[in-house]
């Protein structure tokens, strides 16, 4: 009966509509990146002549000009990488450790602490930015990477994801067995718990990396010197420049330089990323 139903005319019509809408949405998701790609391959002169859908031959030239231009893009990318990788490592390691503390041990105030961390999960960092800048200035960490890396040790969202993952994947009998072997608690965490958490660690590392990589608000308030700035700050600087004198090929090259590496990494890891979106949210 089901077979009959799924081939009925009304289902066929709905299927066609669904495909049309999906293809349209695919188009409006991708067209911007396609134009970006095309324009990165065109010279300033060609770009001023108008739009075309066919790539030209100036890709390498534009990239060369970008790398030898006044904006330190390679340094910017390195800065972004250092901050994002460090944040991802610290955030996943210590937030998993926190989740493990709540998951594996019984102690006074545990429930209150758990509730508290969930309660602060949604508070945006922007609303404490003022106090944060004061603190960073008073301990002389302004214009360094530390204030952008260290706070990620306390990541409530990562904690929550890890706690949920442990609830379904980390039986306490296993930890009991490890203790009988006489292993130290930190040793158990590092050698037994962490390897079991690998899939969850990967997902959270990716999300923390991307959030840090894309962050503009906080780094913009902390990093002053040009050689320490991250990619989003450099892009914002580009927006402020005088566009009439600009080589547009170089502008597109810079945007491509910021966007395409992320797209490539995403396409390689999309299976984990798309699957990881829901796991941290509510399950109904």
């Amino acid at each position: 009966m089901k077979e009959k139903k799924s081939n009925s005319p009304s289902v066929k019509v709905r299927r066609v509509i669904a495909y049309i809408v999906l293809i349209l949405l695919t188009f409006i998701c991708l067209v911007w990146f396609y134009i970006l790609f095309i324009n990165t391959t065109r010279s300033n002169g060609e770009l001023n002549k108008g739009f075309t859908a066919i790539p030209s031959t100036f890709f390498m030239k534009n990239m060369h000009n970008l790398f030898h231009g006044p904006t330190p893009v390679i340094q910017g990318m390195l800065n972004s990488l250092i901050i994002a990788v460090s944040s991802a490592v610290l955030s996943t390691y210590f937030s998993t450790m926190t989740a493990y503390a709540i998951h594996a041990y019984e102690f006074k105030g545990k429930k209150a602490i758990f509730t508290f961390i969930l309660a602060i999960m949604m508070i945006p960092t922007q609303v404490t930015a003022l106090g944060f800048i004061h603190l960073v200035n008073s301990i002389h960490l302004n214009d360094t990477f530390w204030p952008l890396i260290l706070p990620s040790i306390a990541a409530p969202a990562t904690f929550f994801y890890m706690k949920q993952y442990m609830d379904s994947n980390l039986p306490s009998s296993l930890l009991e067995a490890a203790r009988i072997d006489g292993a130290k608690e930190l040793h158990i965490f590092n050698t037994i718990v962490l390897p079991l958490m690998k899939p969850a660690l990967a997902v959270q590392a990716i999300f923390t990396f991307v959030a840090s990589w894309n962050n503009y608000f906080t780094p913009n308030l902390i990093l002053d010197s040009k050689m320490k700035q991250t990619l989003p700050i450099l892009l914002a600087g580009l927006r402020r420049a005088d566009w009439k004198t600009f080589d547009m090929g170089q502008v597109y090259a810079m945007i491509a330089f910021a966007i395409f590496p992320v797209i490539i990494v995403y396409l390689l890891l999309s299976k984990y990323i798309v699957g990881g979106v829901t796991a941290g949210g509510v399950k109904e």
Partner: protein, 312 residues
């Protein structure tokens, strides 16, 4: 929780107890980072909001205690309400299509009788804009929609318009561009969240409805939607919290000006402006108000996530 401890054998409970101090030890790094980088700044922010403290020319005025004067100034000037309205308008303009499209896609993806092919491809594509650096995306849109950018030259080539349309010189088109980018960045994420909710619904309900002769539209509105209420509320509130934080896109698109006529200036752009000009008293008052609003909204989200989690 109490049940489980009582049911466990005594010997085991004892052996667990010996290790329990590690629960506290393992919490130390998180707690330390939280207290230093979030709690102290929070207290400092609230404290600052009661002081007159700003930069005038080259010298700092204050800090002098002025009670609630910063809050009074904030509301009296009217700026706060304008920027709050801007933020909300642009959020709603992006959120309505985001929710509508996400509901539609989630319903289609989870509909067994439709058997859509290439689901993984579509999901990968619609989620992608979410990971793109918002500032780069905004700069890209700025170039694409600039007066002699590709969008204008394309429309001229097609003969749709005779001279370039200045997208960023009109209130409507500027807001629509920002809302459209927010929509693009978030509808895929919402689709995936709603799908998870829909897949959690007992399929026997759908089958029973089908046997009773319900159409797919009826099934959607009478069964799917009511059962999906908790997760739609969750999506609504988290999106609203995210909307209040709207910054990167309008900031880069309008170079921090919020033009035309400050119509795309959001609350966080306003905060950023105060922070940059070292107007700390006002920045403090604005932060506290934002904190209260997001705090109330967070409580609603917290009710969903915590009620089930803490119990288990």
């Amino acid at each position: 929780m109490a049940d489980r401890t009582a049911a466990a054998p005594k010997a085991r409970t004892k052996s667990i107890k010996r290790y329990n101090k590690y629960g506290y030890i393992f919490l130390i790094p998180f707690a330390a980072a939280f207290i230093i980088f979030q709690l102290i700044p929070l207290v400092q922010t609230v404290y600052n909001s009661f002081f007159e403290n700003y930069k005038s020319g080259l010298k700092m005025i204050g800090p002098n205690f002025i009670g609630l004067d910063n809050y009074k100034t904030l509301f009296a000037s009217g700026d706060f309400l304008i920027y709050f309205k801007n933020t909300m308008i642009m959020w709603v303009m992006g959120f309505i299509p985001q929710m509508a499209v996400a509901l539609l896609l989630a319903a289609w993806f989870t509909d067994v009788s439709l058997r859509l092919k290439g689901q993984r491809f579509f999901k990968t594509v619609i989620y992608m804009p979410n990971l793109i650096m918002a500032s780069a995306f905004a700069l890209l849109f700025f170039t694409l929609f600039s007066d002699n950018g590709p969008v204008n030259s394309f429309m001229i080539q097609l003969g749709l318009i005779s001279k370039p349309y200045q997208f960023l010189a009109h209130i409507g088109s500027t807001r629509w561009l920002i809302a459209f980018m927010n929509f693009l960045m978030w509808f895929g994420n919402t689709t995936i969240l709603l799908m998870a909710g829909m897949m959690g619904i007992d399929t026997s309900l759908f089958e029973a409805a089908e046997v009773d002769g319900a159409t797919s539209t009826q099934i959607f509105w009478r069964i799917t939607m009511p059962l999906l209420r908790p997760i739609t509320v969750y999506v609504l509130i988290t999106s609203l919290i995210g909307g209040l934080q709207m910054f990167d896109v309008p900031q880069i698109l309008t170079d921090g000006s919020g033009d035309p006529m400050r119509s795309s200036m959001t609350l966080i752009m306003y905060l950023n402006k105060h922070l940059y000009s070292k107007n700390y008293g006002m920045a403090g008052a604005l932060s506290v108000i934002l904190l209260i609003i997001t705090g109330i909204l967070s409580l609603i989200v917290f009710k969903f996530t915590a009620s089930k989690q803490v119990e288990s």
